[in-house]
Symmetry: C2
């Protein structure tokens, strides 16, 4: 395992060493593909109305398109789409048989409400799939982006050694280091916060569905993606919310894989903030 | 200017882009040369008794040895050797005429006691020497290594752009960012601390010269390098100080450019700590 100055440092480090063609989904978190030249990317553009996709669809798409690395963000960003563990492992097996490096970003997996474990960070899993590399942004789970903490885990020694060389010496700051030393004391509080977040996400999604100019997509992350119905535009909605209500949402209308569709991403926050958002959205009818 | 997650991130980033043969002094801070393969290094091994060297000696050494980049740590680490600004600029001109990139690490320059300015971080200087790149570890000057802060300054746009690409996105942590926002409030305190440090360095050096098993070398940094006279060994001295006095000094006997000579590096601290060190060294006669 390698600890990074945020997941960003590890993403940069592993993409520098990933060879050949990289299979990437779109829309998704773009920092991975930003680190690779365009001609080395094989894109699977998600076509479904709600931007959802399955493991079988990924396999089917890349079956006859040669790739050396497959990247999965799970839950995905910004869609919130989630693939259950048994299907992620199906992808891992499929990739392993073909000698494909399987890169799974679990930065939002703590937020997934599922019966199966949401993380592959288990020694037995990592040992079974030697082509598997798991990256996780700790900042995202704990809501402390400024602490700059991320991790990369694999039993593939070549990758571990290559990524280590690509990471700066003394990369972790003292605050991050201390934070990780004491976080265990707050584990129960964190687990409780996760339960509350999942409950609030459900409540927020239900309320959003009653806003008639929005289509709400299912999400297992700590955000919800919605499509803004015509004639409303995502950009205008974001500006109006900021101007009139001091609320910042993410306008996705220029994002690759989403444009020209009009989508926004809304953060799941506490009851008070979520209610304020809902009231603001209602007032903008 | 680019801000780094410590100078280490910037050192890694610029060394990845430095092409051709790199002229490096030895002994010196090794992180730069660790980032380049050995066959790309042209070494100037300092031969003087006290590990001092001058700008003229550097020019004379590299005059007939083709290099693409010249690296200078000023003050140097671990020797504390310092080159005055007019001579550093002489090196900059010499390098500029030959199309050599001149990399100056000023991490310890705040500690130099000199009539000329100790830093090249001036717009006019950077504009005049377009082959000049200045790197500075902020952590070292302020004594906050855990904050992970460093900077790189140059007017060379190609280098700025290349280094930016080699640095992770979101590389600075929030604590470091906040620290830099408020440090101005403490500027006077910092300036006072620098004066005290220079005074203490002088007092400590004078006291060290009275330890008869040590040879003390001149230093303009916040440390002093000494040679340990036979039959005493640097490693044994470091172990004895730690065992008997709980004081940690740096044993340099295995360091490249110093080995097999027996040298140690001592940090300049406050009066109380320095006195404790002197008393401990006296007791080990």
């Amino acid at each position: 395992m390698i600890v990074g100055n945020g997941a960003a440092e590890l993403i940069k480090a592993i993409m520098e060493d990933a060879e050949g063609i990289i299979g990437i989904l779109s829309p998704s978190f773009d920092e991975y593909r930003n680190r690779v030249s365009g001609n080395r990317i094989s894109l699977f553009t998600v076509q479904s109305d709600d931007f959802s996709y399955t493991a079988d669809q990924i396999i089917s798409h890349f079956q006859n398109r040669p790739i050396s690395t497959l990247l999965l963000i799970n839950p995905d960003n910004p869609s919130g789409n989630y693939i259950e563990q048994h299907d992620v492992l199906k992808l891992a097996s499929w990739a392993q048989e073909r000698g494909i490096l399987f890169l799974v970003d679990e930065s939002f997996s703590d937020f997934a409400l599922t019966k199966e474990p949401s993380s592959l960070l288990e020694q037995s899993t990592l040992e079974r799939y030697t082509n598997l590399v798991v990256i996780k942004s700790i900042s995202k789970s704990f809501g402390v982006p400024g602490a700059r903490l991320g991790l990369l885990a694999t039993t593939n020694k070549t990758i571990l050694s290559d990524v280590s060389k690509n990471v700066s010496i003394w990369n972790i700051n003292s605050f991050g280091e201390f934070y990780m030393q004491i976080w265990g004391k707050y584990r129960a509080t964190y687990e409780h916060a996760l339960v509350m977040l999942k409950y609030e996400r459900d409540r927020l999604a239900t309320a959003l569905k009653q806003i008639d100019y929005l289509t709400v997509f299912p999400s297992q992350a700590n955000y919800i993606m919605c499509e803004v119905k015509a004639p409303k535009k995502a950009y205008d909605l974001a500006v109006d919310l900021l101007d009139a209500h001091n609320i910042l949402i993410k306008d996705l209308s220029s994002k690759r894989g989403i444009s020209p569709r009009q989508c926004i991403r809304i953060a799941v926050r506490n009851k008070e903030d979520n209610d304020a958002l809902i009231n603001a959205l209602r007032s903008l009818v």
